[in-house]
């Protein structure tokens, strides 16, 4: 990010506590318009907590979050979503019994213009809006796969893992966000699926150049492939920031990863 452009998102000394545990400890992060920021860090280092604080699921104990020039600290999750932050989850959070289209349409919930009266008595208005929404959902699916739009009315639970992840990304994109948060999109995928996912992310990048993205990843190839700048977390603190090469070479980062590797072994 150049020093000139104002960041779309900025956190200042952001801190989240769970009882005695400091899960996020005075984190300063800024993301510029159109930038992709990678977030790495060992298990339990506070990456997901960072996202949960940004999206209003957790209330910060201290510090603040400024999004689009507005202080959003302490706002409810749905209010933050409406301001333009959309996300995916580390463990998929799709409604498996609902259709593929339903799972994407809910992303457009905040953008709807027809209300209850339109749904019941002035149905033509609702049908017109919903027709356009369904088209948009199909268009988003078509970005990733040629078959998916045709399966729009199937329950999402019938799709394979990779397609579910795609639906989840489509749901987030359907909101028309200015900031997209991806929490370990490659979690639970084999190398081929991860490669496909990388391609999907590059498609998103190409289609929506103005969109800012923060991506949490354990897979270093993904991080290296999609993100410009990288920050590393450990024990809730930001320990490094810079280009992928610089962060990967950072002493404390190496220590942190080595530490967990040893602990696992």
């Amino acid at each position: 990010m150049s020093a000139m452009t104002a960041p779309i998102l900025e956190t200042r000394r952001l801190t989240v506590r769970f009882g005695g545990l400091v899960a996020l400890d005075g984190v300063d992060v800024a993301v510029g318009p159109g930038e992709t920021l990678g977030v790495i860090g060992p298990n339990g280092s506070g990456k997901t907590t960072f996202f949960n604080a940004l999206t209003g699921l957790y209330t910060p104990a201290a510090g603040e979050i400024v999004f689009g020039g507005r202080r959003v600290t302490g706002l409810e999750a749905h209010a933050i979503a409406r301001l333009g932050i959309a996300r995916t989850f580390q463990a998929s959070r799709l409604c498996l019994a609902l259709s593929v289209f339903d799972n994407i349409l809910i992303g457009m919930h905040a953008r709807r213009t027809t209300g209850l009266a339109d749904s019941v008595v002035r149905r033509w208005r609702f049908r017109r809006e919903m027709g356009a929404a369904l088209e948009r959902a199909a268009h988003l699916l078509a970005l990733f796969s040629r078959e998916l739009p045709g399966r729009g009315f199937e329950p999402v639970g019938q799709l394979p893992q990779i397609d579910r992840r795609r639906v989840e990304i489509c749901r987030a994109l359907a909101a028309g966000p200015t900031l997209l948060l991806l929490d370990e999109p490659s979690a639970g995928m084999n190398p081929e699926e991860t490669a496909e996912l990388m391609r999907d992310l590059q498609i998103v990048r190409a289609e929506m150049p103005g969109l800012s993205v923060i991506i949490i990843e354990h897979d270093m190839f993904v991080i290296e492939g999609v993100s410009g700048r990288v920050v590393a977390f450990n024990y809730g603190r930001k320990i490094a920031e810079g280009s992928f090469a610089a962060v990967a070479a950072h002493e404390e980062v190496r220590q942190a990863y080595l530490g967990t590797e040893r602990a696992r072994a």
Binding site: H78, G107, V120
Partner: protein, 373 residues
């Protein structure tokens, strides 16, 4: 199209015959025919798919046919005021069931005090007519809103809670409602409220006997047609709400609250909306009931009836609009037909809920994928 109408007519004829059959042999014959028809559908998939396709293709014709038969039912049952009454009751349970289904099925707001909210509607009608001197039709319009208001005021703080907490609180609410009605002076205590004036619309009293196509019908047919209109309207409106942004948001809240909130859905607003619209329907059903029978008392709205309402939703199909209609039309008349079952009614409903949840959790007519038509 003819096949669609014909199959509707066959079901109608069998049901009417089943209701009116006096001798055991005739009853056994029609019962056997119904079971055979059901089994035929169950074990002959090609026939089933053909029929389903027919109904899907001629949806308007099927609905029109169903409406004609529903309008004709009092004619077929004219010899029996009692069965006209039971049919009306089933229609009231359609209205109530749609409301409860929006709460439980669509939004996952487990309301186990359906009877208490119906009772709020019923008692409101009684008090507004008897104590405040309102005409019945005005009381009928007002009463459901009282159920909505009481529900909203009392339940706002706990609608957000997850899991079984809300369900437990609604059970408690149901019992408290009953105790209050039993003990309060102005609700008439255990005797309840008697002599609620009947409905009078454009000079037509609902106690006079109507005539359809020159045939005189029992007075209960008045309420049958009123209940049919109300059930039709609520089913129509709730079908459209279900197949809209609201239904989608409520389903998502039910299945994954966090995902819904991160998509901009307000948890409080969504659940409160579902709860209130549901209570509007439930209160309306209870209010119509009070006007129909002319009195309300605590046992009319005890926990057993909450259980009946719940089973209507579970049998028909959780979150399924046509399922509720099917559930109410099956569950209300059956114990009336077989009086020996009547004694064990609650046991039966309880058992039916357990069996359905174990073996067919999505109900007899499972919810279909939302198509937003």
């Amino acid at each position: 199209m003819i096949a669609v109408w014909l199959s509707e007519l066959v079901v109608f004829a069998l049901v009417v015959a089943g209701i009116l059959a006096e001798r055991p042999a005739a009853l056994a014959a029609t019962g056997g025919a119904l079971v055979a028809a059901a089994a035929l559908l169950r074990f002959a998939p090609p026939l089933r798919t053909a029929l389903a396709a027919g109904f899907a293709r001629h949806r308007a014709a099927a609905l029109a046919g169903g409406a004609v038969l529903a309008l004709a039912l009092p004619l077929a049952l004219r010899a029996s005021p009692y069965w006209t009454f039971v049919a009306t009751l089933a229609l009231l349970y359609v209205t109530i069931g749609q409301g409860l289904n929006l709460q439980i099925g669509t939004a996952g707001v487990i309301n186990l005090a359906g009877a208490a909210f119906a009772g709020l509607g019923g008692y409101s009608v009684g008090l507004l007519t008897l104590s405040a001197g309102w005409p019945a039709w005005l009381a009928l319009l007002m009463a459901p809103w009282i159920a909505v208001t009481v529900g909203a005021v009392l339940f706002v703080p706990i609608l957000k809670t997850r899991g079984h907490y809300l369900a437990l609180v609604t059970i408690a609410f149901g019992f408290i409602f009953n105790i209050l009605m039993n003990n309060l002076e102005f609700t008439g205590g255990p005797q309840g409220l008697k002599n609620i004036p009947t409905l009078r619309l454009f000079g037509w009293a609902f106690t006079s006997k109507p005539a359809l196509a020159g045939v005189e019908l029992p007075a209960h047919a008045n309420f049958y047609y009123a209940a049919l209109l109300v059930a039709g309207l609520t089913t129509w409106a709730l079908r459209r709400l279900h197949d809209s942004w609201l239904g989608l948001a409520l389903n998502t809240l039910r299945d994954d609250e966090i995902a819904a909130r991160c998509c901009g859905v307000s948890l409080t607003r969504g659940k409160l909306l579902a709860f209130s619209i549901g209570n509007l329907c439930i209160g309306l059903g209870g209010a119509l009931y009070a006007v129909m029978v002319g009195f309300v008392s605590p046992p009319d709205f005890d926990f057993g009836y909450s259980l009946v309402m719940l089973s209507v939703v579970i049998i028909g199909g959780v979150d399924s609009i046509p399922g509720v209609v099917l559930g109410a039309c099956l569950l209300l008349p059956l114990p009336e037909r077989f009086r020996f079952l009547h004694e064990y009614r609650l046991l039966l409903y309880g058992a039916v809920i357990v069996v359905m949840l174990l073996y067919r959790p999505r109900g007899l007519w499972p919810a279909a994928v939302r198509r937003y038509r």
